[in-house]
């Protein structure tokens, strides 16, 4: 199975990269853009048939894939 983890900065923490992209989009005429937040996607390929896969991936996120001081994460899992 596959897990997709999206890690991004917590709401309220300044995201300079997102701001730079938002202002560039504005300059390009995409006036409808209100805000941009940039994160990263981590794709994890897991062995099939793991019962507590979601729990394990959550542990990975908490221990290394994200820094809880500044980041939040979101997990999607799907059978391959």
């Amino acid at each position: 199975m596959n897990a997709k983890v999206v890690v991004s900065l917590k709401d309220g923490i300044l995201d300079p990269e997102g701001q730079a992209v938002a202002s560039a989009l504005g300059r390009m005429g995409f006036d409808e853009v209100k805000d941009v937040r940039i994160g990263k996607v981590i794709e994890i390929e897991l062995e099939d048939g793991i019962a507590d896969a979601e729990v394990r991936v959550k542990q990975m996120c908490e221990q290394i894939l994200s820094n809880p001081v500044i980041e939040k994460f979101h997990i999607q899992t799907e059978q391959s």
């Binding site: 923490i13 300044l14 300079p16 990269e17 290394i64 894939l65 820094n67 001081v69």
Partner: protein, 240 residues
Amino acid sequence: MTVDRPNIGVAIFPGSNCDADSLHGLELAGANAIPVWHDHPETGSLDGMMIPGGFSYGDYLRTGAIAQFSTVMDLIRQMADDGRPVLGVCNGFQILLETGLLPGGMLRNRDMKFICRTVQIRLESTGNSFSNQNASGDTMRIPIAHGEGNYYADPKTLAEMNSNGQVAFRYCDNGIVGASTNPNGSSESIAGVTNAAGNVLGMMPHPERALEPQLGSTDGLGIMRSMVESCISSRAAINV
């Protein structure tokens, strides 16, 4: 090896690049500087540890994120608990944040660019192992060189740190702290912080680059010599 000189380790990770500068700087400041490789650390009698700048593990995932799981970090946690001085500079600071030995986190610089230049910082607190050569309010000219030095802590943490005297340095201009003198957008212009006990310091500026007149500033000597003295006194205290 003279008796007076404390043994200070320099933790070296794959991708560390200020390790040689830190070893050289610690020797200048009066220590026996000892390289400590990340996965088989010497467990000899180290009186203190410096975590140097660089790009440990390529800074992949997040700066300092992967280094926190190295074997040497167990030794560093133990030394911090024992009250021995631990100094993390630049990437070393980032690693100390990731391990949780220091409060807060690190974001990319406000302007999204790497910045290398000599800045001024103001000493904010003397209640730690790195400030006995200086007085509160002293300003120092010390180089920075980083892409992620935008220190972040939430308001509650900042309040606690301020009341505990854990903010070690702030960026300034002739002693005045303000938005225009903040090179990277860090919370409250913070350049360095300590743990509550004051024996672990993380800072973005590189004191090891400001130890010799030829390099333009000797203002880093106070910090490094304080660490050396604190290593001697903490050794005495721990060995009692």
